[in-house]
Subunit: 229 residues, 2 copies
């Protein structure tokens, strides 16, 4: 029997993430609502700036915080006060300091998986913040490899597998984002398992063709692998 | 003969970095001078906030930009305008978009070294920005390994060497920072070569005991290794 290597995504696959951004956006809306017409699309403006800034900032909380400040200045025509901008900075810091909350069943699932397969964490975002989250998660020692990457595209997955001479046919990637955890993995001839999250960042939205195995929770993964591995 | 592996630092060893921060600090001072007493230590206040924020932000331009904004709000008692804060954001973006300028002799030195030794880039900071700088440097293909790390301490160097089964006795790290490129490397029983930069960030200031080989420029490294390797 071939030995499988399992890749696991971090944000919104192992631990809650997107809902912390949702809380920030709610706060951002409340702060700016007095400055704009009631039907102004604050979320849309912030999302557009975030996307435009990705090529300079990459992913993560620090870039998101800078985008919030920039958008706040823009939509208020510079009328936002320094005290209000400080609130956005404080929220960014609060996000970075937030304790890691594992999703239901994750601790047991990762522990079980680690006894059967070499596990690679493949996670995207700020290096420093992702390392902190992993440390706070208590799961660090269960992983064989930690890969914190700036983008999850086919080239990234190819590089990760090549580095440890892993055949794509022996690799299964598991995560909540079709765009980052499923499509680029299929593109290099490896397999992917989709575990949808309650909330997924709009930038990660994508469709797969329906043939991708989809689980309701990471708890189902050990049994699925035993059957389909 | 044993085969050496050479580690090279990025910022201020291969390419100019600290002087871009110096330009930002100059701009920060000019912007805030009208708000403070003429003898107020703006640099000191910014450096203190940067240091306090390191445990949340880690190293890099995005965290520096957030610290500039926060310090500006603090030292003006909230009187700074949104338009002035936008200038700080714009400067942060400008830093992230700055073309990479290699230090004198670096292109030739790294090319020569790459023909003789496996080279590892060991650089600290924002993953995304460091990858961009490496890509812009044109040196990417000359490195055997790229290690972008959040902190350069003994544990980090130990992990890098262990990952590729490199004996510390076969590793020579070369960089401008005594604190990051020399002391932790000596601590794990490997060797270090110090190539001082014109400007080094105050946070990186440290002393070594004078026994560390020190070169005037990276151009001298190939000859030094040939003699002392």
């Amino acid at each position: 029997m071939r030995s499988l290597v399992i890749g696991l995504d971090g944000d919104d696959t192992l631990w809650r993430n997107e809902e912390h951004f949702a809380v920030s956006q709610e706060m951002f809306r409340s702060l700016l609502l007095p400055y704009v017409e009631s039907d102004y699309d604050l979320d849309g403006r912030l999302a557009a700036n975030e996307k435009a800034n990705l090529e300079l900032f990459g992913y993560g909380v620090k870039g998101f915080t800078l985008s919030m400040v920039e958008t706040a200045i823009e939509v208020t025509g510079g009328r936002i006060t320094a005290a209000e901008i400080q609130k956005l900075l404080d929220r960014g810091k609060e996000m970075l300091a937030t304790p890691v909350e594992l999703l239901p069943g994750v601790a047991e699932a990762v522990s079980t998986l680690s006894e059967r397969y070499p596990l690679i964490l493949v996670t995207k975002g700020d290096l420093f913040n992702q390392e902190q989250k992993l440390a706070r998660s208590g799961l660090g020692d269960l992983f064989w490899r930690i890969e914190i990457v700036s983008e999850k595209d086919p080239a990234t997955y190819r590089r990760i597998l090549r580095r440890d001479s892993i055949d794509p046919g022996d690799f299964v990637m598991v995560g909540n984002s079709v765009r980052s955890d499923v499509l680029p993995v299929l593109a290099i001839g490896a397999r992917a398992v989709h575990v949808p999250a309650e909330l997924t960042w709009v930038h990660e939205h994508a469709q797969h063709n329906g043939d991708v195995p989809t689980l309701g929770s990471l708890s189902e993964l050990p049994a699925w692998l035993a059957e389909n591995g």
